[in-house]
């Protein structure tokens, strides 16, 4: 009796499995809608990062139809208004629970960490391979693929990039005795290393002493945590990464000089003693309305100021504000800028539960057209990522973008290393302590190195 029961159950199970399998086959060969979520941080002027997917999906669907496919792609843009830390946490936790979006836009420095964790998939094994895949990928500025590479593979498609100029207020410079010719020459002098960070401090200090600029408004750096500060560490000779060894590097002396520079800004009265943490809306309002003499920020801020802050809009900005490389801290050494391309990354099957990575890649290619990327670049003040944009009217007719694109001639990227975030935290925390006077520059540098050694262990080279 028992044997009979077992046999019946076995047959039923096999039948159910066969039916299930057949059902599955029917489902996969029949019409199918693939929903592709595209996550990006920030709506506002950056909304196209994800919103372009909707239009691109229409084009992709037309292509699929022409190919005889029964698949329909539905793009779902998700704009996250939180901070970067929260956004990355959301993605990490979603990926670990198999609920990540198929496409995520994030900084290229996440490639190492997320690649190592298995959250994202490599897109190609070489630059040549990815360039050969579509005309759009062939059009991407070749050097940008470097920051999308890690351990020999290409993991992301550049979405936008930017420069982080040192802005200066021409009106205030005139007020303290600069001639038009000197102002016009300033970007060139910074580029060639004739006007250094020390010159910036002394100029701003003089401007404050002369009464042309209010105390504390001579120089406003970024008020909150961000990659910008790496520029100053590097400007004083700091090294970040040893590509041969694939290890992070810290240069102790450069760290001391960098921290001493930050402290000197407070001690000379050109930056408020209680400055770090200033609210962004206050910061934007001050710098875009002729109160600060020097200030450093990203090119994307220009678009924000023009739209939301500057009285008189972009015309007033052009009349009052100039831009240049970040000055060097070493005389004779060229000014440079940090570029921080965001990239489109594709989640793995384990992270997203989806097997449609190829479709996601096709969608990204269609979001990366000259026209579409330019729409984002112009509206958000980001620099283009395609070679064709240099010849594209809508891009070249944007005066600001045309003016600042040359900054990419001497730019650098942050490294794609799994522990870069930890390295940066130590750099930042101790910079704050040094600027605030809680530690001397030497003590702060010493602590930064100690923490890096402790947290990075054999992944750090101390110079």
């Amino acid at each position: 009796m028992k044997k009979n029961c077992f046999a019946v159950m076995l047959i039923l199970c096999l039948a159910a499995t066969t039916l299930y399998a057949n059902g599955g086959q029917e489902a996969s060969s029949g019409p199918r809608t693939v929903s592709i979520e595209v996550w990006t941080r920030e709506g506002g002027i950056n909304h196209w990062r994800a919103d372009l997917a909707v239009e691109a999906a229409k084009e992709l669907n037309a292509q699929l139809k022409a190919e005889g496919s029964q698949i329909t792609v539905e793009a779902v843009p998700v704009l996250d208004e939180g901070d970067w830390g929260g956004y990355k946490k959301k993605y990490s936790l979603a990926a670990d629970s198999g609920e990540a979006p198929l496409i995520v836009v994030s900084g290229h420095e996440d490639i190492a960490t997320w690649g190592q964790a298995g959250y994202i998939v490599p897109l190609a094994s070489s630059v040549e391979e990815i360039q050969g895949e579509t005309e759009q990928f062939a059009d991407v500025i070749p050097s940008l693929w470097n920051c999308a590479s890690w351990h020999g593979n290409i993991w992301g498609v550049p979405q936008d990039t930017e420069a982080r100029p040192m802005y200066f207020n021409k009106t205030l410079l005139k007020k303290v005795g600069f001639t038009d010719a000197q102002i016009a020459q300033l970007p060139k002098d910074i580029e060639e290393g004739k006007f250094t960070l020390q010159d910036l401090v002394s100029t701003a200090q003089k401007a404050v002493e002369m009464g042309g600029v209010e105390p504390g408004y001579g120089y406003w750096h970024r008020p909150k945590k961000g990659g910008d500060f790496v520029q100053f560490y590097r400007a004083f000779g700091g090294e970040i990464y040893d590509a041969q060894e694939d290890k992070l590097v810290v240069t102790r002396d450069a760290l001391v000089r960098f921290y001493a520079f930050q402290r000197s800004c407070v001690e000379t009265g050109i930056t408020p003693a209680t400055y770090i943490g200033t609210e962004w809306n206050i910061w934007h309002d001050v710098v875009s309305n002729n109160k600060a003499l020097f200030f450093n920020g990203g090119t994307w801020m220009w678009a924000d100021w023009a739209k939301n802050y500057a009285e008189g809009g972009e015309d007033a900005l052009f009349a009052n504000i100039g831009y240049a490389y970040e000055p060097s801290g070493i005389r004779g050494r060229k000014g440079s800028t940090l570029s921080h391309p965001l990239v489109y990354l594709i989640s793995s099957e384990r992270a997203s539960g989806s097997t449609d990575q190829e479709l996601a890649k096709r969608l990204i290619a269609l979001m990366t057209t000259t026209e579409r990327n330019t729409r984002h670049a112009v509206e958000s003040g980001h620099l283009g990522i395609l070679q064709s944009q240099a010849r594209y009217d809508a891009y070249t007719s944007n005066k600001f973008l045309a003016d600042v694109t040359y900054l990419l001639d001497n730019n650098f990227y942050q490294p794609n290393h799994v522990l870069y975030g930890t390295w940066f935290d130590s750099l930042w925390d101790n910079m704050v302590a040094a600027e605030q006077g809680e530690k001397s520059p030497e003590e702060a540098a010493e602590d930064a190195v100690k923490i890096m050694k402790l947290e990075l262990d054999d992944q750090l080279i101390v110079k």
Binding site: G86, Y87, K89, A95, Q116, G277, E279, D425
Partner: protein, 304 residues
């Protein structure tokens, strides 16, 4: 036989609380301790981690920030607890009790406002209060009109603001408990003290305070443990800058929120485990100091 039945009934009553404590305290603590012994991070994900023994705890011992962050935590907890959660809570409860009933109710309600305001809105209000001239309210109303120097007060007095922001929220908790405890004091004792000529201070000192020993123990212990692990308002207020990186925020930054998204779950869990240990030590000290065993002793008159 009867006694046996009574004790079983007691266990049934304690069961829901016991389940909650196991679910929301013991299991998370065990998980935290487990994770703290691993190298789990964004890099390893939740599946490729390995056991590292006490490596994270050794890292904490060697870390240059451990001492200062621990000191910051103690200062923050001690100041918020003594000046607000217990001190201000008690003061408001006693004052409100001595006010006309309606006025007392309004007075108490005002202290509840910070608690019912969404934390982000509430903390942003403080930020705009403290902001540099010409934006901040302190500068606008109290400094500029009198020709006094202006500043960005938040970074200048960051710990003070951290304590004030949390204190105004926390005071209401103690206030409610102390108020109800004061209301529960038999009226004849309160009235007879007045008849005997006790002043307001005498009554507070010799009648009210001794009756509040139990709520005082509870509020002090509970709020110490809460403050040790609370960091949300400091996160929004200063993000740990200007010497306000309390231990819990440090743990959060390491494990779950930093700019480049490199989360060290294992190290963060070890930092949290230290807090659990410190919390337990504090709780034991309080229970000893307030003679908890005496408080829960069976009454001498057992059955009427």
């Amino acid at each position: 036989m009867r006694k046996h039945k009574r004790s079983l009934t007691g266990y049934w009553f304690i069961l829901p609380a016991a389940v909650l404590v196991v679910l929301y305290f013991f299991i998370p603590v065990i998980l935290t301790l487990g994770i703290s012994l691993t190298n789990m991070s964004s890099v390893t994900g939740f599946s490729n981690w390995s056991w590292t023994g006490l490596a994270n705890y050794i890292k904490i011992l060697k870390h240059p920030d451990s001492g200062s962050n621990f000191a910051t935590t103690l200062i923050y907890v001690a100041c918020t607890l003594s000046f607000f959660n217990v001190g201000m809570g008690l003061l408001v409860a006693i004052l409100a009790h001595h006010m006309p009933k309606r006025l007392g109710e309004i007075f108490r309600s005002l202290w509840l406002l910070p608690r019912i305001t969404p934390p982000v809105v509430y903390v942003l209000m403080w930020t705009m209060l403290a902001a540099d001239a010409p934006y901040g309210v302190i500068n606008q109303l109290f400094r500029i009109p009198f020709g006094l120097s202006t500043s960005n007060w938040l970074p200048e007095y960051a710990m003070l603001f951290a304590v004030l922001v949390n204190g105004y929220i926390g005071a209401s908790f103690g206030m409610i408990l102390f108020s109800s405890a004061i209301e529960a004091i038999p009226n004849d004792i309160m009235v007879s003290s007045l008849v005997d000529g006790a002043s307001f201070f005498n009554r507070a000192r010799y009648i009210i305070l001794p009756q509040l020993k139990w709520p005082l123990l509870f509020v002090t212990t509970y709020q110490t443990l809460s403050l040790l692990t609370s960091f949300e308002s400091i996160l929004i207020l200063t993000d740990g800058n200007f010497g306000t990186e309390v231990w819990a925020l440090w743990s959060y930054h390491k494990a779950l929120n930093n700019y480049y998204g490199n989360f060290q779950y294992g190290f963060g869990a070890a930092l949290s485990a230290v807090l659990v240990f410190v919390g337990v030590i504090f709780a034991i000290i309080y229970l000893k100091y307030f003679k908890f065993n005496d408080l829960v002793k069976e009454p001498l008159i057992d059955e009427l």
